[in-house]
Symmetry: none
Subunit: 443 residues, 2 copies
């Protein structure tokens, strides 16, 4: 068991990490890049700027992993010990590199500043290290090649990089990834694509798609939740860029054929952006009337640049009086059915549409919680309604999270209704079996 070394360890160094003063996003970035090289990170470790802790972790990592990515501790201050400790741990002398020193001086000259003397130590490297240039900062990185614990095995490559994210990311892409890639000698490219789904759980996605990648060692499907969406990642390996894109296109087509209208967007596009694009493309306008979502639907729509082209008006009608006055809801309906009811949802959507002269009227009413529920209408009850030229539809949902996420989920459902309507897709409460259970049949 102990003979097979781990593919990659990621080590980050800095007191601020261990004190919890900053959230360390470098580790996830480094691991993502490794994954694109088909290398799994099997351990993330962070230690403080402490010589003993640093030496311990460098020794462990070199013995147990084939590639070690280290970030942090290359700065000019007394706390920045990484280079010195790396040299000591692996029995190397520190050697000053004249060319690096000149580049650091030049960096300061560009800003009309003198290099402080403590910056000179950033030109010191363990003997035998390969220097990794840093075109946008003063701290170059370096690579150490350390013999494997037992003979016959390949050595361990340790890459030391700065902790400043933009310097790290650039050095990683320009200096580190090519070196690892060359050593792997695979001559293959890896490409990924991301599809966003809404209304289907991770395990159902897995069930519907798992076989797609199973026959093909060079294609991998991955699933992950980003509330309230579930993401499908398609990753392929191929001989070249073009073959990879072709294979991605094929797989995306097949995934879409199976999931149909559950795919709401691609890549980092958000649902509101997809809806905005559809509204613009089809030259439709919208007005929203919000009770449960309290302005969140309008706010998401206005997060998209240029939203004034299609969002004519939003009304946050929390008070019954506002529902009557601003949206034309009938006081009798409010009295007879309550504010959280089908007739009121319908009248809100119709009123918003009529007042603004919009193509689409969209309404939410419900009980976000934590208070205000009853046996008949528990916390999480949501009525959605959409009115357009073809008439008005309304459904009841039962949300089951906390206030903030109930609002978020309701706004996501509401926006998805618009997407579905614009694409001519069905809207039914049964579309979302895992997220929300419908309490009444669709009408």
């Amino acid at each position: 068991m102990s003979s097979a070394r781990d593919p990659v360890w990621v080590v980050t160094i800095g007191d601020e990490l261990l004190r919890g003063e900053i959230v360390d996003s470098n580790k996830s970035h480094l691991s993502q890049r490794m994954l694109a090289l088909e290398l799994e990170s099997t351990r993330h470790v962070s230690v403080p700027d402490d010589p003993r802790a640093m030496e311990e972790v460098l020794r462990e990592a070199a013995a147990r992993a084939r590639v070690v990515l280290v970030s942090g501790g290359l700065g000019p201050t007394r706390d920045d010990l990484t280079t010195e400790i790396a040299a000591r741990t692996f029995g190397r002398k520190l050697v000053r590199d004249a060319e690096s020193l000149e580049q650091i001086r030049a960096f300061f000259r560009r800003f009309n500043r003198e290099m402080a003397e403590n910056n000179a130590k950033q030109a010191d490297f363990p003997e035998g290290a390969e220097i990794l240039p840093n075109p946008i900062g003063t701290a170059p990185g370096f690579m150490l090649d350390v013999p494997a614990p037992s003979t016959g095995e390949p050595s361990t490559q340790l890459f030391f990089m700065p902790g400043v994210p933009r310097e790290l990311y650039r050095m990683l892409d320009e200096q580190v990834v090519p070196r690892i890639s060359a050593r792997l000698g695979r001559g293959r490219v890896v490409r990924a694509r991301l599809l966003r789904t809404f209304g289907i759980g991770e395990s159902n996605l897995d069930r519907m798609l798992a076989d797609l990648a199973q026959a093909d060692a060079d294609a991998v499907l991955g699933f992950r939740t980003q509330f309230p969406d579930n993401l499908v990642r398609i990753l392929v390996r191929a001989a070249d860029e073009r073959a990879a894109e072709t294979r991605l296109d094929e797989l995306e087509r097949e995934v879409r054929a199976r999931l149909g209208d559950l795919v709401v967007a691609t890549g980092e596009q958000k649902l509101e952006e997809a809806v905005a694009a559809l509204l613009r493309e089809r030259k439709r306008t919208i007005a929203v009337a919000e009770s449960l979502t309290g302005g969140l639907v309008a706010s998401r729509l206005t997060d998209v640049p240029g939203s004034s082209a299609y969002l004519l008006e939003g009304v946050v009608a929390y008070a019954n009086d506002a529902k009557v006055r601003a949206l034309g809801v009938s006081p009798e309906s409010l009295k007879q059915h309550g504010a959280v009811s089908e007739p009121v949802a319908r009248q809100m959507a119709e009123g918003a549409r009529r007042n603004a002269g919009a193509d689409i009227g969209l309404a939410t009413t419900g009980i976000a919680g934590p208070e205000g529920g009853s046996a008949e209408k528990p916390v999480g009850t949501l009525w959605l309604a959409l009115a357009d030229g073809a008439g008005t539809i309304a459904h009841r949902y039962q949300l089951m999270t906390d206030r903030a996420r109930n609002k978020e989920l309701a706004s996501q459902l509401a926006l998805d209704w618009v997407r579905r309507r614009l694409l001519g897709l069905p809207i039914s409460a049964e579309t979302f079996p895992r997220l929300i259970s419908a309490k009444e049949p669709a009408k």
Copy 2:
């Protein structure tokens, strides 16, 4: 050197962490809380949902640290292995806990749903574990006490908690911190208090406050940015709870005396919660008219439970037509001054107040970007207006970030105006020198 064990290790478990799919903020949160107990975390480790990797890290952590905080892998799926591996690693049997099982069933009943059979395993615990209740999720945590590697030393406490942040944070504060604290049994307690400021930069905070803590080794002031707020943390150590609270009160009074009305809230309270509390306390109602913020002000106000008590109505008036029809803005003003102007901002605030019959009318109009700016009204131009029984005030600001943060900053300014108005504090464009520069004098 190897005899002194580390105070705290933090271990997080999950494939998604090692694939870099999510940024792990749990580790920094856990370390922050330990720091308040004067316990330094000396190592953060993350491993995938892999039995061998999990067993390795649990064994290492138990041997090398006195407190081990573990999060993740307590869910109901096949991938969630933490409990099983913990039992195996420390030679315990798995035992089902009837009371926990009943609580999990009850959790589902609250939403009128059946518990799925795989959830039952969340009621299994290693023999001898102390169960840590989870009042807001289905996965209870547990604590294992493992003997120290050599005799005479105190045992290691391993706390196993869910990975879902809100469940983790609550369990940490209610179950874990008190247990660690009790065991430390130091004659001293550590207490912290957090003040949120808005409208002053970190370096100015430091300059205004740094001397406060310098004379006193048992008091520490810390600063940190959480856009758009800057936070001041006061940490004191004292002989007992009461002495600590007294010292905190003194320091808080002094900080407030120096910062005055820049302190907007305390602890985790958000500005909208502070504003909501003031509105309720003073029995005032509010109506908002939003253009630039597009519903975000209303959405933030409705994030607070019970907001129907004070938020009467919100209008998102993006189109000029909506400003005229729904808010009574004069078409002449729109034509003469444009939608982003003082007269229109004033009329929006007054119209919202009048329509809803609210005590306060609040309005935002401006250019969020990235398009739509001009030489006279560049991107980031914001007019805020507030109308109440005493009249109407309006100011112009110049925001200088991207669309999303311009919206956020504008909503923060707008809510801060309400806070200031309710407290009788001055409202002036000069209050916020670092965040936004006023282009015109206040009126």
